[in-house]
C-alpha cells in the first residue's frame, strides 16, 4: 500500500509543472491573441471609461508577467478572477457548474465501463462467431459516429418519436431542485430525501451520458475483446487448463484480468474524449454543467473564464489519469513495483 502512495505522489509531482505550463500557455494565449476582452465585457453601448475600468479590473493595463503573477497570487487565495460573462467570480462559477458535469461524466464512465465489459466479454467469449461480429459492427459504429451526432440522433428519436427519455435539462418541469449541499444534484437529492428528484435526475442523465459514452465504450470493448482473444492463446492459459482448472474459471480469471489491463490503460484517453465531448453533449442536451459554461465563456471571450475552464479540465484530466494508473498498477503488479 505504501508503494502505491509513493507512486501517486510521484505522479502528482510530475504533473504539477505540466499544469503550471498549461496555465502559462492558456494565460498567454488568452491575453495575446487579438480581440479586446474589456470591450467585449463592457457591452456594445458602454462608454470608453467603462471599458478602461474593466481593463483595469482585469489588469489588462499591466505587463503580461505581472498579470500572470497576480493571477497566481489570486489563485492561491482560491480566486480565479472576475468573469466578464457571469459578472461574478470565476471560482463561484466553477463551484456552481462543475458538479453537474462531473456527475454526468461519472455516469457516462459507468455506462462506458459497463457497456465495454459486456460487449468486450461477449465478443471475446464468442470470438470469430456471430456475437463477435455483431459487437464488432457495433464497435465500429460507436467509434465512427461522433458524440454530437449521437446527441442529435437521440434528440430526434426521443424528443418526438419515442418520448421515453427527456432530451434537455436536469429536472422535469415541476421537480423541485434539492437544496444545494454538495452541488452534486444526485447526492443533494438523497440528502434531502427527495427520492423522486433523484430518479428524475438519473432519468435526465440517461441520454446525454449515453451519447457521451458510446465512442469510448466501443473503443474499450474492442480492446477488451482483442485482449481476450490474445490471452486465450497464451501459454499461461494452456498451463491452467492443463492442470484441470474449469473453463469458466479460466475465462473469468486467467483470461479476463490480463485483458483488462490494456483496456484500463486506454481509459486515460477515453476520459479525454469524455471531457472534450461533454462540450458538445451538454450544449445539445442543455445540461447545466461546466462544459456548457465553457462554451459560453469561450464564445464571449471571457478570458478568466477560459483560463479557468482549461485549467480545471487539465486538473481533472490529470487526476483521472493518475486514478487510471493506480488501477492499472493494482491490476498489473509489474507496474507499481518495477519503479521500486
Amino acid at each position: 500500500m505504501r508503494a502505491i502512495w509513493k507512486y501517486i505522489w510521484k505522479r502528482v509531482l510530475y504533473v504539477i509543472p505540466t499544469l503550471v505550463g498549461l496555465s502559462i500557455l492558456i494565460f498567454i494565449l488568452s491575453r495575446v491573441l487579438p480581440g479586446d476582452p474589456a470591450l467585449m465585457a463592457a457591452g456594445p453601448n458602454a462608454p470608453k471609461w467603462v471599458v478602461e475600468q474593466i481593463r483595469h479590473q482585469l489588469r489588462l493595463d499591466k505587463p503580461l508577467w505581472e498579470q500572470y503573477y497576480y493571477w497566481l497570487v489570486d489563485l492561491f487565495h482560491g480566486d480565479l478572477g472576475y468573469s466578464t460573462y457571469t459578472k461574478r467570480s470565476v471560482t463561484a462559477d466553477v463551484i456552481e457548474y462543475l458538479p453537474a458535469s462531473l456527475q454526468l461524466i461519472f455516469m457516462a464512465a459507468l455506462f462506458e465501463i459497463g457497456g465495454a465489459l459486456a460487449l468486450g466479454i461477449i465478443a471475446g467469449r464468442y470470438a470469430y462467431r456471430l456475437p463477435d461480429n455483431i459487437v464488432r459492427v457495433i464497435a465500429y459504429i460507436g467509434i465512427s459516429v461522433p458524440s454530437f451526432v449521437w446527441g442529435l440522433l437521440f434528440q430526434l428519436v426521443f424528443a418526438s418519436l419515442i418520448p421515453l427519455f427527456p432530451t434537455h435539462g436536469m429536472y422535469s418541469y415541476g421537480t423541485v431542485p434539492p437544496p444545494r449541499v454538495t452541488g452534486f444534484s444526485l447526492i443533494d437529492a438523497l440528502i434531502a430525501g427527495q427520492f423522486d428528484t433523484f430518479v428524475d435526475i438519473l432519468w435526465h442523465m440517461v441520454l446525454p451520458a449515453f451519447a457521451l459514452s458510446l465512442g469510448a465504450m466501443a473503443q474499450d470493448a474492442r480492446i477488451i475483446r482483442a485482449g481476450m482473444v490474445e490471452n486465450t492463446e497464451k501459454e499461461h492459459v494452456s498451463l491452467v487448463r492443463a492442470y484441470g482448472i474449469p473453463e469458466r474459471v479460466i475465462f473469468s480469471k486467467y483470461i479476463l484480468k490480463p485483458s483488462l489491463v490494456p483496456a484500463v490503460t486506454v481509459m486515460g484517453m477515453d476520459i479525454a474524449s469524455l471531457l472534450g465531448n461533454a462540450f458538445m453533449v451538454e450544449l445539445i442536451f442543455q445540461w447545466p454543467g461546466f462544459s456548457r459554461y465553457g462554451i459560453n465563456v469561450m464564445l464571449n471571450k471571457d478570458i478568466n473564464g477560459i483560463v479557468a475552464v482549461v485549467l480545471v479540465i487539465g486538473i481533472l484530466f490529470a487526476i483521472a489519469n493518475i486514478i487510471v494508473d493506480v488501477v492499472v498498477a493494482y491490476l498489473d503488479p509489474r507496474i507499481g513495483r518495477r519503479s521500486q
Binding site: P47, A159, T175, K253, L256, Q286
Partner: protein, 545 residues
C-alpha cells in the same frame, strides 16, 4: 476478482434497468405541483437582472417585471406617467422636475421615495453599464429636493428626455446599501451590490425574484402589494427559461411546458408550430430595423454610385417574403411606426437595370469590370442570428449579378462590436438589427448616423458628416415635440439621399404561445420598446398549471 467483477457488472446492469423502468413509470405519472397561473417564457442567456448592468432583450424583460420605470411606454411607445407622475421643464430646457407618485411600495415593504430615484440614477451613472449610455451625455446632476420631488439638471437641452426615462428602473436604496460588498471598484460604494443584484432584485415591480440560476432560469413570483394596475388573470409566477435549441422549445410548447417561445425561433419552426390548434403566433414590432450598414469611407463603397447600385440590386421582396416573412419593407432610416418617423421618403427597390446604370457611373467601374476581386466586398453577418446568413447569401448572389464580388463572413456578435469600433477594421458591409433606445425617431437617428456613434456597433457607415451632426443635435435639443419631429423628417430625407445603408425591413417580433395566454399584441397593442413586450402587468394567463 471474479466475484467482484460480476458484482460490478450486475450493479451497472441493474442501474440501467432500474432507470429504464423508472423512466417508464416517470413518463406516465408527472409530479403534480399546486395549481397556479404560470407564465414560462423562453429566452437566451446571458440575462443580467441588475438594471445598471443589463441592457439586452431578456435583461430588459426582467427589469420590466421586477422594477418600475420612471416613465412607462404606452401604446406605440407614447410616454405614460408612471413612477414619475408629472414633470416640468425649465424654460431653458436645462432643468427637469419630476414628481414622484406616492404610495409605491418596494418588495422590502418600504415606500419608494425621491431619494431612491436619485440614488438609482447615480448608481447607473457611476457603474456606466446597462442603459447608462442614454444618460451620461446629458445628465449633469440629480437631487431629491423632498421625499417626492427629483430635480435633474442637464448638460444641454434634451428634447426626448422624458422618453429616455423608460430606462430608469428604480432601485430600493436601503436594500442596495445593505448588500454592498467592499472592496469594490466603486470606492465607498464597494461593488455597488452588483454581485448581489445579479441574482436578486431591489425593485417595486409586480414580480419579485424567487430564484436565479445563472445560465438557466429566472423565476419571479407575484408581488402581493403591487401598487399599479394589473390585468385580471395576471400570472402568479413568471419563469424565464434559457433555451438554446428550437427543437427543445418545440417539445416544451407541444407538451404545454412553455407558455411563450423565445423571439428568435427560426421561421421553419414557427411554421411547423403554427399548425397546432392550441398554439398561436403573435407578431408585433420590436422597435428595431434591420439594416445593412455600408462603410462609406472604404473603397468602393465610398462612392455613392456603388452604394446606390447595391441598393437597387438587392431583392427586398425575397427577403421579406421568404427569409423574414411578415416583416414590412423599411420605408426609411427608422421604423415607420416610431414616433417621429417621416413618411413618403424616396426608397430603393430591386431594379437591376438601374443598379447597373449606377454602377457604371462609378469611378471604380472600369477597374471593377476588369478586376472584380480587387474590390471584393466584405459582408459580415452576426453568427448569433442564423437567419442573417440567408440574407447574406442572397445579397451576395444579388451583387454577383451586377458584377460585384462579395466575401461573406460569419462573425460572433462581440467580435462585430470590436471590429466596428475602428474605421479600418470595420467591414464593408454588415447586417445588424438596431433598435431605438427610446421610442422616438431621434434615438435611431443619433445612434445610427451621428459622428459620436461612428465608433460604436450602431454605426458602420462612418458618415462623419458635420451637417448631419448639426441637424441631429439641433433636433434633439428641441423640447417642443411637434417641431422636433419636423426636424427629424428633414434628417431622414437627407440620410436617404446619402444612401449609406440598405434599409431592409422593420423588424417584427414573432413568438409562438399557448392559446390560453393573451398578449396585448394579439389585440394590436404594442409599445415598440424593447423589453416591454412581455409585461406581466398586461399578459393574461387563462389556465392554471
Amino acid at each position: 476478482m471474479n466475484k467482484k467483477l460480476v458484482a460490478a457488472i450486475s450493479v451497472i446492469v441493474v442501474i440501467i434497468i432500474v432507470i429504464g423502468v423508472l423512466a417508464a413509470v416517470q413518463s406516465t405519472q408527472k409530479p403534480q405541483p399546486q395549481k397556479k397561473r404560470l407564465l414560462r417564457i423562453g429566452f437566451a442567456w446571458p440575462t443580467y437582472i441588475d438594471p445598471a448592468v443589463g441592457s439586452d432583450y431578456s435583461s430588459s424583460t426582467a427589469f420590466t417585471n421586477l422594477y418600475d420605470p420612471l416613465i412607462f411606454p404606452g401604446d406605440k411607445g407614447v410616454p405614460k406617467p408612471w413612477v414619475a407622475e408629472s414633470w416640468e421643464v425649465s424654460p431653458d430646457g436645462m432643468t427637469w422636475t419630476l414628481h414622484i407618485r406616492k404610495g409605491i411600495k418596494f418588495h422590502s415593504g418600504d415606500e419608494l421615495k425621491a431619494e431612491d430615484v436619485a440614488f438609482t440614477i447615480h448608481r447607473l451613472l457611476t457603474i456606466g453599464k446597462g442603459y447608462a449610455y442614454l444618460f451620461t451625455p446629458y445628465i449633469q446632476n440629480v437631487t431629491a429636493t423632498d421625499d417626492y420631488t427629483v430635480k435633474v439638471t442637464l448638460k444641454r437641452p434634451y428634447g426626448p428626455f422624458i422618453a429616455t426615462l423608460m430606462r430608469v428602473y428604480v432601485l430600493d436604496k436601503n436594500v442596495v446599501m445593505q448588500h454592498i460588498k467592499k472592496p469594490g471598484p466603486y470606492g465607498d460604494y464597494g461593488d455597488y451590490a452588483t454581485n448581489w443584484l445579479l441574482t436578486h432584485d431591489a425593485g417595486s415591480g409586480p414580480y419579485q425574484v424567487k430564484e436565479v440560476v445563472l445560465e438557466d432560469h429566472v423565476y419571479m413570483t407575484r408581488f402581493k402589494d403591487y401598487w399599479g394596475p394589473m390585468v385580471p388573470n395576471a400570472a402568479d409566477e413568471i419563469q424565464m427559461l434559457a433555451l438554446a435549441q428550437p427543437a427543445t422549445e418545440k417539445t416544451l410548447l407541444t407538451n404545454k411546458q412553455l407558455e411563450i417561445s423565445s423571439q428568435w425561433l427560426p421561421e421553419e419552426t414557427i411554421e411547423a408550430l403554427a399548425k397546432e390548434s392550441y398554439l398561436k403566433v403573435s407578431k408585433f414590432p420590436g422597435g428595431d430595423e434591420f439594416y445593412i450598414m455600408m462603410h462609406t469611407r472604404k473603397p468602393p463603397l465610398d462612392d455613392i454610385h456603388v452604394r446606390k447600385a447595391i441598393a437597387y440590386a438587392i431583392d427586398y421582396k425575397t427577403i421579406v417574403n421568404q427569409i423574414f416573412p411578415g416583416n414590412p419593407i423599411a420605408t426609411g432610416p427608422v421604423p415607420s411606426y416610431l414616433p417621429g418617423a417621416a413618411h413618403n421618403l424616396p426608397t430603393y427597390h430591386r431594379d437591376l437595370a438601374k443598379a447597373k446604370e449606377e454602377l457604371e457611373k462609378s469611378k471604380y467601374w472600369p477597374d471593377i469590370k476588369e478586376h472584380p476581386e480587387k474590390y471584393t466586398i466584405d459582408y459580415h453577418w452576426i453568427a448569433e442570428v442564423p437567419a442573417e446568413e440567408k440574407v447574406a447569401i442572397l445579397v451576395a448572389q444579388d451583387l454577383q449579378e451586377i458584377g460585384l464580388k462579395v466575401n461573406v463572413v460569419k462573425v460572433p456578435w462581440l467580435r462585430v462590436v470590436e471590429e466596428m469600433a475602428n474605421i479600418t477594421t470595420s467591414p464593408h458591409m454588415v447586417s445588424v438589427f438596431v433598435a431605438a433606445h427610446y421610442p422616438e425617431a431621434g434615438s435611431l437617428l443619433e445612434s445610427r448616423y451621428d459622428s459620436k456613434s461612428a465608433d460604436t456597433w450602431e454605426q458602420n457607415e462612418w458618415l462623419l458628416n458635420k451637417t448631419l451632426d448639426h441637424m441631429i443635435e439641433d433636433a434633439l435639443s428641441t423640447v417642443n415635440t411637434t417641431e422636433r419631429f419636423k426636424k427629424y423628417a428633414q434628417i431622414e430625407l437627407a440620410i436617404m439621399k446619402l444612401c449609406p445603408s440598405i434599409f431592409l425591413f422593420d423588424h417584427m417580433i414573432k413568438v409562438v404561445h399557448q392559446d390560453y395566454v393573451k398578449l396585448p399584441a394579439d389585440e394590436g397593442h404594442y409599445t415598440g420598446v424593447m423589453g416591454y413586450d412581455f409585461d406581466g402587468r398586461a399578459i393574461e394567463v387563462l389556465s392554471t398549471t
